[in-house]
């Protein structure tokens, strides 16, 4: 059974300087509250993994807490580039950032292979693309039956995965609904996992084939209402698209970024997330 603890305690017990960590979420259910708690705790030298690093990784990188990024698409979705991440890559500010770059297909397969306990994932990919020339972690393999040339990438096994879900029950089983991303894989592939949920309930009332993580696959659970904001939680509140557009301006300037982080992350606590979603609550359609 997972520990039901405060978010700060969950971070303290599960995230350490130098860890390989995935804060997963595919546009939906991005664990912002957990990432902000990690930033407040100042845990650094992290290797960050995510298919779609967006604002939270821009924030962690901008705060100088990451040494490496494993990713497949680093953008502010629908808005533009990640300006803090660019600054780190192009100007080494506030510190250099190593990149290990893949395609979505590769990383989705790599998470799957991690959950499946395999050392690598085999798929058909990167045909005619340049990435295999700059990433030694993409290797050709041959199908022993057809002779076809396929590619392999190492599986992903984070030290710790953070995700956000709709509900947990009191035994610690977690329900996720809507756009699922690779969160189930990220949890099952990780040594430890921390889940923030909108609500802890008596009964999940889940569809038999819904995405449920059994309690014994989860290390710690914390209730944080609005914990995915400005991302969203299907059925509970909408994506704060306005904030994503605004972030482009905040992140454009180092000083403005630092002031914003000081005020809205460092000087805050996770309680603020419930307030941030007040205007975004949506009825389930």
């Amino acid at each position: 059974m997972p520990d039901f603890v405060s978010l700060d305690d969950a971070i303290k017990a599960n995230l350490t300087d130098g860890d390989v960590v995935a804060f997963e979420g595919f546009t939906h259910l991005i664990p912002f509250a957990a990432a902000h708690a990690a930033i407040r705790a100042g845990i650094g030298d992290l290797t960050l993994i995510r298919m779609t690093p967006d604002i939270i990784y821009d924030q962690i990188i901008g705060m100088g807490l990451a040494k490496k990024l494993i990713f497949s698409y680093a953008g502010n979705p629908g808005v533009g580039l990640l300006r803090r991440m660019r600054d780190a890559v192009e100007n080494e500010w506030p510190r250099p950032l190593q990149l290990e770059e893949h395609s979505h297909a590769a990383l989705a397969n790599a998470f799957e292979a991690g959950a499946a306990g395999l050392p690598s994932a085999v798929f058909r990919g990167y045909q005619g693309a340049d990435l295999p020339q700059v990433n030694p972690n993409i290797k050709p393999v041959r199908c022993p039956f057809s002779g076809e040339s396929l590619v392999a990438v190492p599986s992903i096994r984070p030290d710790v995965t953070f995700i956000h879900g709709q509900k947990a029950d009191r035994k610690g089983n977690v329900l996720i609904e809507g756009i699922l991303g690779v969160q189930k894989e990220a949890v099952l592939a990780a040594r430890r996992s921390v889940v923030t949920v909108e609500e802890i309930v008596d009964n999940l009332n889940a569809h038999p084939n819904a995405c449920v993580l059994p309690s014994w696959t989860v290390t710690a659970i914390t209730e944080v209402r609005g914990g995915a904001h400005p991302s969203y939680t299907h059925g509970i509140y909408r994506r704060d698209n306005q904030f994503y557009i605004e972030w482009d301006k905040i992140a454009a300037d180092r000083k403005r970024f630092q002031e914003w982080m000081e005020k809205h992350v460092l000087a805050e606590s996770e309680g603020v997330f419930a307030k941030r979603i007040q205007h975004l609550k949506s009825p389930r359609t």
């Binding site: 979705p77 770059e101 297909a105 045909q127 005619g128 693309a129 756009i179 991303g181 698209n241 359609t285």
Partner: protein
């Protein structure tokens, strides 16, 4: 083109929407592809299947999503599958008839760069990277390219080949063992381009109304080829333009 009842961006999107069919299964990206697909769905192709890489299959959004994972997509989808499944069963499994691509740079063979401007190890501009593109480019039956023309974007050689078009042209795809068609058409704000049947060089086959060859040459980083039987792109109909503008207005209000 200020006095026209449409602008060139709108025609680019509308021209793409016209080539989509009711039985197409499209792997849709955000922006112009999303608009083109939804105009097709709201006009001549009501049963077209739209799939976003977030795992949403058969979406029918009322507003255009800002991201590929907006709630609107899941709420209107026939079903939503995990991302692993999207890339393995639906893309690699060969279920998509059409994929859309565009990027920061494109060359005359439809190879695209969304990774870096400058050298990979020390980029001048670090772009978002490939996302789904490397596999979309080879695993959808056909590729529709959409991209606005500019000297910066239409280059002799892309700085990094994020996704394959026709490589160095000719039968380069076939020699790599790739069976899909690759880019069958490129929609820009000036023209419609299609690959030459043999060389595979993208060739202007239709210029938008009011556009001259010189306009195109002035916005392309190589010496572009024009088809012998060069057409003029049909103007948007009132219905097309209304559908697009309404969709955009609703979407802007929603975000």
């Amino acid at each position: 083109m200020k006095d026209e009842p449409y602008n060139s961006d709108e025609l680019m999107t509308i021209a793409a929407s016209r080539e989509l069919r009711n039985d197409d299964v499209c792997f849709v990206g955000i922006g112009a592809p999303s608009a083109a697909c939804n105009i097709a769905r709201l006009s001549h192709a009501p049963d077209i299947t739209l799939i976003y890489e977030s795992g949403t299959i058969g979406v029918q959004p009322k507003v255009l999503p800002l991201s590929i994972g907006d709630g609107e997509l899941c709420e209107t989808a026939l079903t939503t599958v995990p991302v692993r499944e999207m890339f393995r069963y639906w893309l690699q499994g060969g279920k998509m008839t059409i994929g859309f691509l565009g990027g920061a740079q494109i060359d005359k063979f439809g190879n695209i760069n969304t990774t870096v401007i400058g050298p990979y190890g020390k980029p001048k501009v670090r772009l978002p990277g490939g996302g789904g593109a490397p596999e979309i480019a080879t695993q959808c039956a056909k590729i529709f390219l959409i991209m606005k023309q500019s000297k910066r974007g239409f280059v002799e050689q892309v700085d990094f080949r994020t996704s394959l078009g026709f490589g160095s042209g000719g039968n380069a795809r076939e020699t790599m063992g790739i069976h899909s068609s690759g880019p069958v058409v490129l929609f820009t704000d000036y023209a419609i381009w299609r690959p030459h049947p043999k060389t595979k060089e993208l060739t202007v086959v239709s210029m938008h109304p009011g556009i001259a060859r010189e306009d195109i040459e002035a916005t392309i980083g190589w010496s572009p080829r024009f088809a012998d039987d060069l057409a003029i792109t049909e103007m948007p109909t009132d219905k097309e333009i209304q559908t697009l503008r309404q969709l955009k207005a609703v979407s802007q209000a929603a975000h």
